[in-house]
């Protein structure tokens, strides 16, 4: 049994992680700045309130430690992004430890709320694991204070209901905070998913376009002429700046790569080039499905793509069969047409089998592109759908 729900394109997982890490750096910076501000505020308060030097120093050491780890992880993060992830866990842990230390040092009910600040800081990362660390700390601290150190909440004019109300509202607050953080993390993931999905969709659609174009127009790029022209161009350019033509070797390698020459053969001729360099030069060639061809196509298509402000966050941009504005009948018809079109295929696309369609519709994000009532009926009766189409279209594609 397959697990629900995965992404229709497995490739997007890596890119989504890349996107998350890209933004993690700026989040780490924000957290570090907030921690520094808090450290200064606590130090100032302790100095004004004339706390003993060793108490002040011990708390400040804690703050300094968290800040220094932040600096170090941010620096090492350039080399390896796992340091950013490590930093968010260490910082969340450190901030909660500092909040608990402050509760013990000051022994004041006002300091209990320092836990909320710690939660707010950790929430900045919008990460599920960090959220679990924060929840565990917050819950543990709240229970610890109420069960073991009730004197910290021993108010002068405590009302009758206080004993019940304080734990209750603490619990409500933790619950609201946890659910809120959870949904926000998921919401953030949705945006990253959509970006990653559109990148993969674009990648695959360019490939499809290249193949269709080749099939319909029969045109191919005259690559040998292209490289002759480039040799002439680089000759003229190097003469203009009065130097030798340093491009020749790479042009020859690229030309060989265009002809699918194997790396070992190339390496015999050009031993000073590494596999990574061949990979890179291969990306820069114009052959079918090569990177540079896609870049050139993208440049030509990107022209005049203008986005209006109102289109951002517009629901109409989200392609699905579950638009709020559509009636149930329209949703039904749209799904029926979609299903039949996939089963029928067309000149360039083979008919898909019931199993292929079922696995994507039921186990991937496509599940949410369809009205939940309709997809449930399909899920429970997919064999009927298969029979209808097979009977009418006169073929059983298995």
């Amino acid at each position: 049994m397959q697990n629900r729900q995965t992404h229709v394109f497995s490739e997007i997982e890596d890119y989504r992680e890349l996107l998350e890490n890209k933004h993690l750096r700026s989040k780490n910076r924000f957290v570090m700045i907030i921690t520094i501000i808090l450290g200064i505020a606590v130090l100032t308060y302790m100095a004004v309130a004339k706390y003993p030097l060793y108490t002040t120093l011990s708390l400040m050491t804690g703050f300094l430690l968290v800040i220094l780890i932040n600096f170090a992880c941010l620096a090492y993060g350039y080399e390896n992004h796992y340091f950013y992830q490590l930093n968010q866990y260490i910082t969340s842990f450190g901030i909660f430890c500092l909040a608990i230390a402050m509760i013990f040092i000051f022994k004041s009910p006002s300091m209990v709320a320092a836990l909320f600040i710690a939660y707010a800081i950790a929430a900045f990362y919008q990460d599920l694991k960090v959220m679990f660390i924060s929840n565990a700390f917050l819950l543990f601290s709240a229970i610890m204070i109420m069960a073991e150190f009730p004197e910290y909440l021993d108010f002068i004019n405590a009302s009758q209901e206080n004993d019940f109300a304080v734990p209750f509202f603490f619990l409500v607050f933790i619950l609201v905070l946890s659910i809120s953080s959870y949904i926000m993390v998921k919401q953030k993931r949705f945006f990253y998913n959509q970006i990653a999905l559109s990148k993969e969709t674009e990648f695959r659609n360019i490939d499809l376009l290249i193949d269709l174009e080749t099939e319909v127009t029969g045109r191919t790029i005259n690559l040998s002429k292209y490289y002759d022209n480039i040799l002439a161009f680089t000759d003229a350019f190097t003469k203009k700046i009065q130097m030798d033509n340093i491009f020749i070797k790479k042009i020859h390698i690229m030309q060989a790569l265009e002809n699918n020459t194997a790396y070992p053969l190339l390496h015999e001729k050009y031993p000073d080039f590494s596999k990574e360099e061949y990979d890179r030069l291969s990306d820069l060639s114009l052959g079918v499905h090569r990177k540079l061809l896609k870049l050139a196509m993208k440049i030509s298509y990107a022209k005049d793509v203008k986005i209006k402000k109102r289109e951002i966050f517009s629901e109409t941009q989200f392609k699905s069969f579950n638009h709020q504005s559509d009636s149930l009948e329209i949703k039904i018809l749209a799904f029926a047409v979609f299903y039949t079109a996939l089963r029928r295929g067309n000149a360039a696309m083979r008919p898909l089998t019931e199993a292929e369609i079922y696995n994507v519709l039921v186990y991937t994000d496509y599940y949410y592109y369809i009205d939940p009532r309709i997809i449930r009926i399909y899920q429970e009766n997919n064999q009927v759908f298969d029979d209808i189409v097979s009977d009418i279209l006169g073929k059983r594609v298995k």
């Binding site: 907030i34 505020a41 600040i117 919401q187 499809l208 504005s325 067309n346």
Partner: protein, 395 residues
């Protein structure tokens, strides 16, 4: 309930409108619990019984209003009312008691506002809550201190509340900026994909013609197949199969005559025209949402290159770190634009490759910043004559 929980756990797959609904539902559940608890708590408050009754009735009406707005799909209005409701509850607690738990209520109210992640709401309602909170702290400071409290604890209460507000304000501002940027990229990417699919569709039509295949919307068997599937689905909803077949006929009719003709035809009722308008995005004879969904679905079953870290990288600087390679790549791109009919209108026989002037305009355009940096553009400008002279040769 099971479905709702599944939606919550899979919220990362849901669009904003669905997530908003989840948020409202969760907030309503919390407000219901808190309101229920408020009834016994209100006995301890410093209000007269009549005031308590009036407030509780107002709360019940408020809750029904949120529920009604939610049912009527007025999600944004429901959000606003739920925030106002929360603030009302906060005020009811803070004016009714001077206990520590009323102070906790400010955090609960702020968290509910934060939950919606809307800058305007947070700036107005959030600031209001913090304002009331600070007022409450200084008004009831005597009841918030413990037996042997530290000096200035009242300021600490206020400082922490304000800091909590500010940290989340920074977070919301950061998210707002991030989500706008991401969404902009996403919309731009979608537009670009639509352009590719426009072109792909025109090739597909050509292939259909060559292979003498009838398009799906004209093929009687295909029409029958989706009609029967639609009837099967409709009957599960206890709907009359005839209605859905009428809708199918309208759908086919729009393909035959075009939406414009349907809209201009006085014989059709306003409701039919509205339905026709909605069906427009699901047509099969132009690049619509339906065509995009079909293309995207199909690409899943096409062979693709294995994933590499630079799979989606199209910036020349990142593809080629050294200048020589960048120059060669630029020369190749220029030749492609100068010699191939790219982004052509398949139906226009006069279509031809771009002229040098057109390429220059294209490379100088804002959209190209994504692929070429200022240094590469400057190189092109300085050597534009060489590009034209050597790379425009007919291939």
């Amino acid at each position: 309930m099971k479905n709702f929980l599944r939606k919550v756990f899979n919220a990362e797959f849901l669009p904003m409108s669905e997530v908003r609904k989840i948020k409202i539902t969760l907030v309503m559940a919390f407000l219901l619990v808190i309101t229920a608890v408020t009834i016994p708590f209100s006995l301890f408050f410093k209000y007269e019984l009549l005031t308590v009754i009036i407030v509780l009735i107002a709360l019940v009406i408020g809750f029904i209003l949120i529920l009604a707005l939610f049912r009527w799909h007025k999600i944004l209005a429901a959000e606003q009312i739920s925030i106002i409701y929360t603030i009302g509850l906060t005020v009811f607690y803070t004016l009714g008691t001077s206990s520590f738990y009323a102070y906790l209520f400010f955090y609960i109210a702020l968290t509910i506002i934060i939950f919606y992640q809307e800058l305007f709401s947070y700036l107005t309602y959030g600031t209001l809550v913090v304002g009331i909170g600070v007022y409450y702290i200084f008004t009831y400071q005597a009841d918030l201190v413990s037996m042997q409290d530290i000096s200035g604890s009242v300021y600490i209460y206020a400082f922490i509340l304000v800091m909590f507000y500010l940290i989340f304000l920074v977070q919301i501002l950061y998210n707002e900026k991030l989500y706008i940027d991401l969404n902009y990229d996403w919309v731009k990417m979608n537009r670009l994909i639509e352009k590719y699919q426009d072109r792909s569709l025109s090739y597909l039509v050509e292939l259909d013609k060559r292979q003498k295949r009838t398009p799906g919307y004209e093929d009687v068997k295909c029409q029958k197949a989706f009609g029967e599937i639609a009837v099967f689905l409709a009957e599960h909803f206890h709907e009359d199969g005839k209605d859905i077949l009428n809708l199918r006929d309208l759908y086919i009719y729009i393909h035959e005559r075009g939406l414009r003709r349907v809209l201009d035809n006085d014989e059709f009722s306003v409701s039919t025209k509205k339905i026709a308008n909605r069906l427009d995005k699901y047509l099969l004879n132009s690049r619509t949402d339906m065509i995009s969904m079909i293309f995207n679905f199909y690409t899943k079953f096409r062979e693709t290159l294995p994933y590499r870290d630079n799979r989606y990288e199209y910036n020349l600087c990142k593809l080629a770190p050294n200048h020589e390679e960048q120059i060669i790549a630029m020369a190749l791109v220029y030749q492609y634009l100068a010699n191939e009919i790219c982004n052509e209108d398949h139906w226009d026989p006069t279509d031809k490759p771009l002229s040098h002037q057109e390429i220059t305009e294209l490379l100088m355009a804002m959209e190209t910043e994504e692929f070429l940096n200022a240094e590469q553009i400057a190189f092109y400008k300085d050597n534009s004559d060489l590009f034209e002279q050597h790379l425009r040769k007919k291939t």
